[in-house]
Symmetry: C2
Subunit: 248 residues, 2 copies
Amino acid sequence: MLRRGFQAAVILGHHGTLPGATHLLPRFNPASAFGSSTESLVSRFCQEMTKSKNYALPNASWGPDMLSLYHEFLEKTKTNGWVRVPSFRSNRDHIQGFKLPLDLSANSDKSDWRLFTRCIEREGQGYEYVIFFQPSEKKSICLFQPGPYLEGVPGFVHGGSLAALIDETFSKTAYLSGEGLLTVNFNIRFKNLIPLGSLAVLNVNVEKIEDQKMYLSCVTQSRDQQTVYAKASGTFLQMHLEEDSSRQ
Amino acid sequence: MLRRGFQAAVILGHHGTLPGATHLLPRFNPASAFGSSTESLVSRFCQEMTKSKNYALPNASWGPDMLSLYHEFLEKTKTNGWVRVPSFRSNRDHIQGFKLPLDLSANSDKSDWRLFTRCIEREGQGYEYVIFFQPSEKKSICLFQPGPYLEGVPGFVHGGSLAALIDETFSKTAYLSGEGLLTVNFNIRFKNLIPLGSLAVLNVNVEKIEDQKMYLSCVTQSRDQQTVYAKASGTFLQMHLEEDSSRQ
């Protein structure tokens, strides 16, 4: 699995088809990897940049359930060590100043790139969500209010849209917990359909970190915990991002 | 697993929080289930309705790779039994005239509901895809050109957006192959990142149908088959949709 992660970047160097892109081999040095503490990762990754809109803040579409649970966790950020993870239009906003394993700087200013789970601009129509991260316990909560653009079976959330948000919550949790960067695999079992417009709560835990892989789990349920919507697990590859002073 | 499918509908009947919805128990009759032939399902499900926009047709954003492979498969619809699956804004357009296991008619005209994989309206920015289905072999091909709104790692497709499209292709294939309706579980292993703007080809097969469950597989790869992007599998629950004369 670990080799596949590297292979990904290497193969893309030869077969990547993005016009104009130069895909370099990953700038990865196992000997120096994963020296960053969770605190420094949080400090770096979760800074609230004034120039980029933060989508993890309440808007007029948030219902009473979403709002009240949001404020409950916001209180925990003041006393219990929880961190509200900001959410920008693109991961490019999070990783400014770092070198990616794949060099894509040639494409950075040509398109309106968007993080997939922020692809729908209209408030309340698509993904409304906010992630809170607990550094010392390496766990996250994601509050998710799905809008009508996330439909699968009429009236209910498309299984793929839930899978995508779990993967995204895994991704942010994995990075903050120890530089987990690339999804290696992802499994989900669906138990109940989520009604559009309701509130679902994703409970994510880092189960273990071993051989530069990070294993995460997620239980998605109703606020009252009486209905389990889905259970998921995922494996991420750890990958160190080096400082890149030339880009800042 | 089968019980969970029923349980889903039943539990939603008690705990569903969609305002104004009445969730009835599933209108499912095992004795009468799965009598529909693949031919009749295709005939019913794949009709090209003139009043609904079909998103599975070429537009100006499609690149040369996508276009040429599209025309290759379009030729196969004339001689080799392949079917181009139309793609509408919502699954509501596909299942007109059928009763769903969950009665959601109260919500049908209140919102701009969209199938998740058609949530991005702007051509070329999000999901560009078309599914071709081969009824006699119970397999599908999905041509996928991801736009910049599907980003994860900068410059590359978000793993969750690929997972969602595979789930959607599974969903259409499962229904047409034997009334597979609800995803029970879904697994994906990522091998290589897909560059945004390139072409990926999803190869979906129904592996077996057993105990009212349908098992599907998917290999996602580059057009030249030299790069495997991901391998996935999924299980769907078969569920018969009865005619609903009151809605037409």
